[in-house]
């Protein structure tokens, strides 16, 4: 996604000045997207692990959207998985500073509920991005990838591709206490048409969602179960690691994944990954912030679950499962 030229040209030091400038420019120039009487308010954007390109892109999109509408932005980040304490403190700070809305990517689904309630009680609109609170209604609305559906798509694709061949599935997971990881895992099983513990599942292993742990886990699984011919992976780096193991063991294994990063789509194009499901972090950030803006300006509070999109990307489409090819994927991917 091309970045706004005007924000790019401003150095960090004069960022404040640029925001104000943009507010004026944006209000005048953005075609139809901004109403004549948009309130300028303070919005808080709370994210996770910005070092991960997915979250980085998501946050950037949210911030860019907010800036485009002339808002003042406070951002905060928890840079380790599960660090809810940092996020709670950040939200308290934002409430004190008088934000009118917050987009939050919760580090923990239950730990963030009380502070979100406090914020909403104070009249602040709070929506979640990427993953929701437990219960989801603890926030005004949720904007995320339907990870279950994402898993289902590759599960269905894998089943259809295998056809009548007996399948021996390996599951390469991330910590299953993580909602996203669990949803993708369950989705794949559902789409593939098997249940937990089914005989078709040859083995499973945990990874850290990166290549070297994906590789080690796959090596070990292949060593124990040489007949594995389908592999589900939690994300594309793990899939790429799995591929190294598969290549070294000289096996023929169908590799599926989820994420839709440009690197992952390139792996689909070169055959490393059979199929992946794309997420849309840019759309996610944008939708969340725009919902907050609408709520603050028009009083129309958002609600419910909003799927920011799941698209199956594969160069070997199957009947009955909608997909796009890797060329399309490269035009719409995120990250690198």
């Amino acid at each position: 996604m091309p970045e706004s030229e005007t924000t790019r040209s401003c150095s960090t030091a004069v960022r404040a000045g640029c925001v104000i400038l943009l507010a004026g420019v944006g209000a005048g120039l953005a075609p139809g997207a901004v109403q004549a009487e948009e309130k300028k308010f303070l919005i808080g954007i709370v994210e996770l692990q910005l070092a991960n390109p997915f979250f980085g892109r998501l946050e950037k999109s949210a911030v860019d959207t907010a800036k485009k509408h002339g808002l003042d932005v406070i951002t905060a980040e928890a840079n380790t998985a599960g660090d809810s304490a940092t996020q709670i403190a950040a939200i308290e700070n934002m409430v004190n500073r008088g934000v009118k809305g917050i987009t939050l990517d919760p580090a923990n689904a239950t730990a963030l509920v009380p502070i979100v309630k406090k914020a909403r009680d104070a009249g602040i609109v709070v929506v979640t991005t990427n993953t929701s609170l437990a219960p989801m209604t603890a926030a005004d609305a949720a904007y995320e990838t339907d990870n279950l559906q994402a898993g289902v798509l590759i599960g269905q694709w894998a089943k259809a591709t295998m056809g009548s061949k007996p399948a021996h599935v390996a599951m390469l997971d991330y910590d299953l206490a993580d909602k996203t990881a669990k949803a993708r895992h369950d989705g794949f099983l559902e789409g593939f048409g098997v249940t937990e513990g089914a005989p078709q599942i040859a083995g499973s292993a945990l990874t850290m969602g990166n290549a070297e742990t994906g590789q080690t886990a796959t090596e070990n699984l292949l060593s124990a179960h040489p007949d594995i011919n389908v592999i589900y992976t939690i994300n594309e780096p793990a899939a790429q690691g799995a591929f190294f193991a598969i290549k070294k063991a000289r096996r023929d294994v169908l590799v599926t994944s989820i994420d839709g990063s440009c690197s992952g789509v390139r792996s689909v194009a070169d055959g490393t990954i059979g199929a992946t499901v794309m997420q849309f972090p840019i759309r996610m950030g944008q939708m969340a912030v725009e919902a907050v803006i609408k709520a603050v300006n028009d009083g129309l509070k958002p609600s419910g679950f909003h799927n920011t999109g799941t698209v199956l990307i594969t160069d070997h489409p199957v009947a009955d499962v909608d997909s796009r090819d890797s060329k399309w994927g490269l035009e719409n991917c995120w990250g690198d």
Partner: protein
């Protein structure tokens, strides 16, 4: 004027001052040969897994375990050195990753030799900075390396813009390949790991520098009072550890041909675990590379075997943690009453 000899009224004090005198031969052998414990543990692990998983003991899996050991194994050699002088390095994995990222990105622009050189230099220089801060300015190793870990991890991400990219250079990835004999591949990486272990073992056991390393770990005061330049030796330990981290980076790229800033996130814990399980004492002065070699195999074999047996990865962490506590506890027991 001499006093007539009196019955010794200080027997208890004398006995207390002889910490190991009360140990029986079997335990004494654990003191003199600290490798016995870890070796037994490794054999036990192998026996248990060969019984529970039919595929564990086959040649292909043994070859796999060797290949899976080289990165942590090489990293742990540097860590062993540092722990021997009663230090600790929480930054070893991050420094290794920085090395892979630097080398990988330079190689992608063409000059492979430069990439190798700069990768090595990066690892050595960063670790040497740690050494300077710890040896010369006396910062506690835990804190100094923890700070360095944070800095280096962030630096690797900044340098690579959080991207990982493939490494195609043959030279950089050579350690991942090697002669094949059926299902067994003896990678050059495995050969390098073993060679480095032997070289470091020689340096520690057969040279004056090695004796001084152990002396400093045992008692820096005694070392200094005997004319040893403790600052210089400790600095040299860190600088040398950096060389091993550089080799570990080379191993990592050979095993997984990518430069990835998000890889090996807990390599520091894995390397420390390998060293401690191998019988090297966290208090310094005791242990060595033979133990680390065994300790590495233990850590890797546990993961390999438990995955194959279909046992939850969390149990692997429990098993490893239990072994660490056992190892540290054994070291404490054997050190009971000992004053450095």
């Amino acid at each position: 004027m001499t006093t007539a000899p009196q019955p010794d009224s200080n027997e208890a004090a004398v006995a207390a001052a002889a910490p190991y005198a009360s140990l029986q031969p079997p335990t004494l052998s654990l003191v003199t040969y600290p490798i016995v414990g870890p070796l037994l543990a490794l054999i036990a692990i192998f026996v248990v897994f060969s019984l529970t998983t039919s595929t564990f003991m086959n040649a292909g899996n043994m070859s796999l375990i060797a290949q899976q050991s080289v990165v942590i194994g090489t990293l742990a050699l540097g860590q062993t050195l540092i722990i021997l002088v009663a230090g600790i390095d929480l930054a070893d994995g991050a420094i290794m990753v920085l090395g892979t990222v630097v080398a990988g990105s330079i190689a992608s622009h063409g000059d492979v030799a430069l990439a190798m050189a700069l990768g090595f230099v990066t690892c050595i220089v960063v670790t040497a900075i740690n050494g300077l801060v710890i040896a010369r300015f006396r910062l506690p190793p835990f804190i100094a390396t923890l700070g360095m870990f944070t800095i280096v991890a962030a630096a690797a991400r900044l340098y690579s813009q959080s991207r990982s990219f493939p490494v195609t250079s043959d030279l950089l990835t050579v350690l991942g390949s090697g002669p094949e004999f059926g299902t067994v591949t003896v990678t050059y990486g495995t050969m390098v790991w073993i060679a480095l272990t032997l070289v470091l073992g020689y340096a520690l056991n057969e040279t004056a520098w090695g004796v001084r390393v152990y002396a400093i770990g045992n008692s820096p005061i005694a070392a200094r009072l005997n004319g040893i330049n403790v600052t210089r030796v400790v600095f040299s330990v860190y600088a040398l550890a950096g060389v091993f981290y550089a080799f570990a980076a080379w191993q990592a790229v050979g095993r997984t041909p990518i430069a990835d800033p998000s890889g090996y996130q807990i390599a520091n814990l894995d390397s420390i675990t390998a060293v401690v399980i191998g019988g090297t004492s966290l208090f310094g002065g005791r242990g060595g590379v033979a133990g680390t070699f065994i300790g590495t195999l233990i850590v890797v074999a546990l993961k390999n075997g438990l995955t194959q047996a279909g046992i939850d990865s969390l149990y692997q962490q429990i098993a490893t943690g239990a072994l660490v506590m056992l190892a540290v506890g054994a070291d404490q027991y054997l050190r009971r009453g000992h004053r450095a």
